[in-house]
């Protein structure tokens, strides 16, 4: 009897893992927003204040330069968005800044902020290690940060 109950349960658990894999590799859940709360910032550092990739040779990145104050503003006012939304809804820019962040809950990560209010955060340590997030800061976008 116990086996009869456990077997479907185990199948469901493995089916859950299979779906999770499938979702990441093939974008099946690309409209879902990862569960994570951006906490209080303990420390933020900038490793590159204004860089440019080669996606848009005509874009002028000179007005874009991220300071510790601006990066703190970004993380204080941004929300987590889905992957599909990140790829589709917001300004895309070849101008970016990079740095690291430590939260007071112990989570630590590497971030990238782009001109136009979008960013990413890859958590490298802490309870949410390896979580990857797409972020959007509307106020930064409105202010052309």
């Amino acid at each position: 009897m116990k086996r009869l109950i456990l077997a479907p349960l185990i199948c469901l658990i493995f089916a859950g893992f299979a779906f999770a894999d499938d979702a990441v590799n093939h974008g099946a859940d690309d409209y879902s927003v990862p569960a994570y709360k951006i906490g209080r910032i303990a420390k933020i550092t900038i490793t590159a204040a204004s860089e440019k990739d080669n996606s848009d040779p005509k874009e002028n990145c000179q007005p874009f330069s991220v300071t510790p104050k601006l990066s703190t503003f970004f993380f204080s006012h941004s929300k987590i968005v889905s992957q599909a939304s990140a790829f589709h809804d917001f300004t895309y820019s070849s101008c970016y800044a990079e740095g690291t962040i430590e939260f007071s809950n112990g989570d630590m990560g590497e971030w990238r902020i782009t001109h136009g209010g979008t960013g990413t955060l890859l958590l490298k340590a802490g309870k949410s290690k390896d979580k990857f997030l797409h972020l959007y800061c509307k106020r930064c976008d409105d202010q052309d940060m």
Binding site: N25, D30, E59, S85, F87, Y92, R112, T120, F132, D144
Partner: protein, 219 residues
């Protein structure tokens, strides 16, 4: 009976366009149509995108074309949808600015450029949310396998996709359906044939979005 646009802005008597109203993506009256913008969704399925259009204040376009060419009309042609974003300066992009305008618009912030552009009318600026129809093609943004190294985690791959992702190639069925739909909209609503643009041409978007979409007269 021939295909037509009804009084509410929906294609009728048209077996090739499926009506799937998503009122959440409609945002006020679209009084005039001066152009058409072609997009890609960033998602692999029509079902996911149709579902996302039920969220409050969703972004979306008037039409959605699935990979097999199935075409959905999701918003009335008489309603605006939010599908364009801040406009680029057309004369800067097409190298047609007068010296005075060139001086005034070079180096401006994206919002300032958009504001200046919105004082102009098509064809002196690109079509915007105020005067264009949007067509979405189902297509994911993917990472070229050359970036993937053994042992990389999914999260590392996702991070690289955010940096270097390119939109999937538009399918032949999508391109056929797109051409069919463009002809219909241009004919029924007298939209100029030279005012069809891939999204990244008019607004700051991933340059590969809709880059493989094809239509007659594409620049």
């Amino acid at each position: 009976m021939a295909s037509s646009v009804d009084k509410d802005g929906w294609f009728t008597n048209d077996a090739s366009v499926r009506k799937q109203p998503r009122p959440m993506i409609e945002h006020g009256a679209l009084k005039t149509i001066r152009g058409i913008i072609v997009h890609q969704t960033g998602s692999p399925t029509a079902a996911g995108t149709l579902s996302s259009y039920q969220n409050a204040n969703a972004n979306g376009a008037h039409f959605l074309i699935d990979k097999d060419g199935t075409t959905y009309q999701v918003a009335s042609l008489f309603k605006k949808t939010w599908h364009v974003g801040k406009l680029k300066a057309k004369c800067l992009e097409t190298h047609t600015c007068s010296p005075a305008v060139l001086k005034a618009e070079t180096g401006l912030k994206y919002s300032e450029v958009n504001k200046l552009e919105m004082h102009k009318t098509v064809p002196d600026r690109f079509p915007s949310n105020e005067d264009s129809v949007g067509i979405e093609l189902v297509g994911l943004c993917v990472l070229d396998p050359k970036y993937i190294k053994p042992g990389m985690s999914k999260e590392q791959i996702n991070e690289l996709t955010a940096r270097y992702g390119v939109f999937e190639t538009v399918t032949a069925a999508q391109n056929q359906a797109l051409q069919r739909l463009l002809s219909k909209i241009q004919d029924k609503l007298t939209v100029p044939k030279d005012q069809v643009y891939p999204h990244p041409e008019v607004s700051r978007k991933n340059p590969t979005e809709a880059s493989t979409a094809q239509w007659a007269g594409k620049p």
